[in-house]
């Protein structure tokens, strides 16, 4: 694999061809915020948090899918990008009903973490207070649409890793909602293997274990990468 040298926030970085800017930045110790991205799942570049400036291009590029190239000069934390990230987080907070104080994921929530990162102490945009349902029909898990940020991690993990494809995105625009089966109660969908991977990768408290109460959801989405690693190792074993 040939090597590409580039500059990220003033640091010289050498990365293999085909590496993304996000990976190269993380290797170099530069943290770029993400939400929809999760190692081990296909990238969708939907949350737009990881947008970066690349010199010579007037368009912002999502770091999660942009491959490194020779001589590339990347800026990941300019004032313009900071402002954009704060607005993205505000848009997410105001379109759902995110009440940290009563959430199972309080303290272990990626949306909450990102809000802290970008310094969102209040929302400048009005809250929309949508009327969204909660699905408690599954024996072990629950789905609270109020906390869903439509990152589609659950859809991807269920399809790409578990192979069950219980979840999919349905409807359109502001009416988008993840559905199980034919938009049925989760518990009524035969295809579900009860594996819990969707709960594991959910960045917020939208998908949770039923027993958990406030701040008790301690899932670590990065466990997915370890799980995939282990699975690969087993498959490759003689």
């Amino acid at each position: 694999m040939s090597v590409r040298t580039l500059r990220i926030d003033g640091r010289d970085v050498a990365s293999g061809e085909g590496t993304t800017v996000l990976e190269a930045a993380r290797d170099a110790g530069v943290a770029i915020p993400t939400l929809c991205h999760l190692e081990g799942l296909s990238p969708v570049a939907a949350c737009r948090l990881c947008l970066v400036e690349i010199e010579g291009s007037n368009k912002l590029q999502p770091a999660c899918i942009t491959p490194v190239s020779e001589g590339m000069v990347v800026h990941t934390a300019t004032p313009r990008l900071r402002e954009i990230r704060r607005t993205v987080i505000e848009l997410l907070f105001t379109e759902g009903n995110h009440v940290c104080a009563v959430c199972v994921a309080n303290g272990h929530c990626e949306l909450q973490d990102r809000a802290v990162d970008v310094g969102m102490d209040h929302a400048r945009l009005p809250y929309r207070f949508p009327d969204r349902p909660v699905d408690l029909s599954h024996q072990r898990f629950g789905l609270d649409h109020n906390r869903c940020i439509l990152c589609s991690r659950c859809v991807r993990v269920c399809d790409e890793v578990e192979g069950a494809h219980v979840w999919d995105m349905a409807w359109r625009g502001e009416h988008c909602r993840i559905i199980a089966g034919l938009d049925q109660p989760w518990g009524a969908v035969d295809a579900c293997t009860d594996c819990g991977k969707c709960v594991m990768v959910c960045p917020t408290g939208a998908l949770f274990h039923k027993g958990d109460s406030v701040a008790e959801k301690h899932e670590d989405p990065s466990r997915l990468a370890a799980l995939l690693q282990a699975r690969r190792a087993r498959q490759e074993a003689p």
Binding site: R48, L60, E83, V88
Partner: protein, 526 residues
């Protein structure tokens, strides 16, 4: 021999041209003049706002507002003239009861240059033989029998043709890129998902001269090395769908589409795909997803469709009007085409002229024609007692040109400099009664509703922007809200994943640029 051409496009059909055609058929057969008067349903004749339209040959006259009640008197007048032994020498003494004979010296007709629409309104779109008689598939045959694909590509590039769907990307370059891609199976897609509200150019072309588009696709396929094509058309265009289905069937049966065309090794098949009500599917990556039977959500580019399109194959996507330009370019030569229009924008452009305008309809003018010419001369300006305030082009991705800038030439760059776009050709004239803030809110509501919901700025940003505009309309917004509107608008443009979100704030920003006073007047007193 006299000919009667009656518009059977959706506009005139809605005004009763179907009944008119029926009445004329009856009257002609009752007068036993079937062999002396040929009646043909044809595509769009132009000034739709005056339909149903009827053209008389060989006189070349055009009658407006013709109804079924006029059939008897018209056939009687034609019979009288025929009995006098003449089919043209004397002008026909006849006028429709509630309509009129149009003055073809009017700018509406004189200022047009019909290339894309050259056969639209002349031939019966349901009759392949009539299309062939005026040259349909002639260029395909010529190309297949002696031209290399490279020669086609060179000719297209030299012509200076740019995409008519809105972005204006050089067509020849797009073709050459797909041609260079490795892979034996490539795909040509005709984007007929004409979704901009107020735009109906592609509908008119497909309803009036569908074979022209199929020929363009086949030539494109030969040039880029494709063997299969799709036409993606919006479901709202029932008549265009019907005509296309028929045209594809006819072309296959007549050996104009299918395997081994004109005795060569080249084959090309076309499939029709009907949309299901999603504006975003006009965006090329969303269109590909939809053709593949998926949710019509765009994906980031690269990879561009030229590299990876339908089914992962290299794919060429062109709009209807772009493809309709291909045959005349090859017939008359690249130099001929390049000489029409302006240096940067060659050829003609079809516009659908609607809104607050006295004479609306379909017009085709050389690029570089000014808006003054199109709106004030051809369209004859705003209705009595009113005046033009602005002209909206480019639909939900475009903006407004204020009345004092109507001298702007219609070419890609000049419109862009004004903060709008050429777009696909929708041109909505707005008179002084138009509330520009309400118009901005209207377009934002459109984008809010048509957002696919995949990326955050477009999904949630358009909702917030629409909310802010509604607040301004209600008179309860402050100066800070106006600032927020502009900041958030810029953010949505900069960060959205696809063209829909990236241009959603444009109509709003354009009205803010030219009609800021309309906004300020509505703010709460500080």
């Amino acid at each position: 021999m006299n000919g009667l051409r009656c518009c059977a496009s959706a506009g005139c059909l809605a005004r009763g041209s179907g009944a008119l055609i029926g009445a004329l058929e009856t009257a002609i057969s009752r007068a036993e003049l079937g062999d002396r008067i040929q009646l043909r349903p044809v595509g769009c004749l132009g000034p739709c706002s005056q339909g149903p339209l009827l053209a008389l040959d060989p006189d070349g006259d055009l009658y407006a507002g013709v109804g079924p009640q006029d059939a008897e008197t018209l056939v009687a007048a034609l019979a009288r003239r025929l009995h006098q032994g003449s089919d043209q020498a004397t002008p026909l003494e006849w006028a429709p009861a509630r309509g009129e004979r149009l003055d073809l010296r009017a700018p509406f007709f004189q200022r047009q240059r019909r290339i894309v629409l050259e056969h639209c309104g002349l031939i019966d779109p349901t009759d392949l033989e009539q299309a062939i008689a005026v040259g349909a598939y002639g260029q395909l045959e010529r190309v297949l029998q002696g031209w290399s694909p490279e020669r086609v590509l060179t000719e297209l590039q030299r012509s200076g043709l740019r995409g008519r769907g809105g972005a204006g990307y050089p067509t020849g370059l797009k073709w050459a890129t797909v041609a260079r891609m490795p892979g034996a199976r490539k795909v040509v897609v005709c984007n007929a998902d004409e979704g901009d509200p107020g735009a109906f150019m592609d509908r008119a072309v497909l309803e009036g001269d569908p074979h022209r588009v199929l020929e363009g696709m086949a030539i494109a396929a030969y040039a880029v090395g494709a063997d299969h094509g799709f036409i993606y058309i919006r479901a709202e265009y029932a008549l265009a769908i019907e005509r296309l289905r028929l045209a594809i069937d006819q072309a296959v049966r007549r050996g104009r589409l299918g395997p081994a065309l004109f005795g060569t090794g080249f084959g090309f098949s076309v499939e029709l795909r009907v949309g299901a009500g999603a504006y975003v599917c006009g965006e090329e990556t969303a269109l590909i997803a939809s053709i593949e039977g998926k949710r019509g959500t765009p994906r980031p580019r690269p990879p561009y469709p030229a590299e990876r399109g339908v089914g992962g194959k290299p794919t060429l996507i062109n709009n209807v009007e772009t493809l309709a330009n291909v045959a005349p370019i090859l017939r008359e030569g690249a130099d001929w085409f390049a000489a029409i229009g302006t240096a940067g924008s060659a050829g003609t452009k079809v516009f659908s002229l609607t809104g607050h305008v006295r004479r609306g309809g379909l017009v085709e003018v050389p690029m570089g024609t000014s808006l003054t010419t199109v709106v004030l001369e051809m369209g004859e300006g705003a209705p009595e007692g009113s005046a033009v305030k602005a002209v909206q082009t480019g639909g939900p991705s475009g903006g407004c040109v204020p009345a004092d800038r109507l001298d702007t030439p219609l070419d890609y760059e000049s419109l862009q400099a004004l903060g709008t776009i050429m777009g696909s050709g929708g041109m909505v004239v707005l008179d002084q009664s138009t509330d520009m803030v309400a118009l901005a809110a209207y377009f934002m509501a459109f984008c809010r509703e048509e957002s696919c919901g995949k990326c955050v700025p477009c999904r949630a940003g358009t909702v917030q922007l629409h909310g802010l505009l509604e607040r301004i309309l209600a008179g309860s917004a402050s100066r800070a809200d106006l600032d927020q509107l502009e900041t958030l608008g810029a953010m949505v443009m900069d960060t959205s994943l696809c063209g829909l979100g990236q241009s959603a704030p444009k109509p709003m920003l354009s009205t803010l640029r030219y009609f800021r006073g309309d906004y300020l007047a509505r703010l709460e007193a500080p």
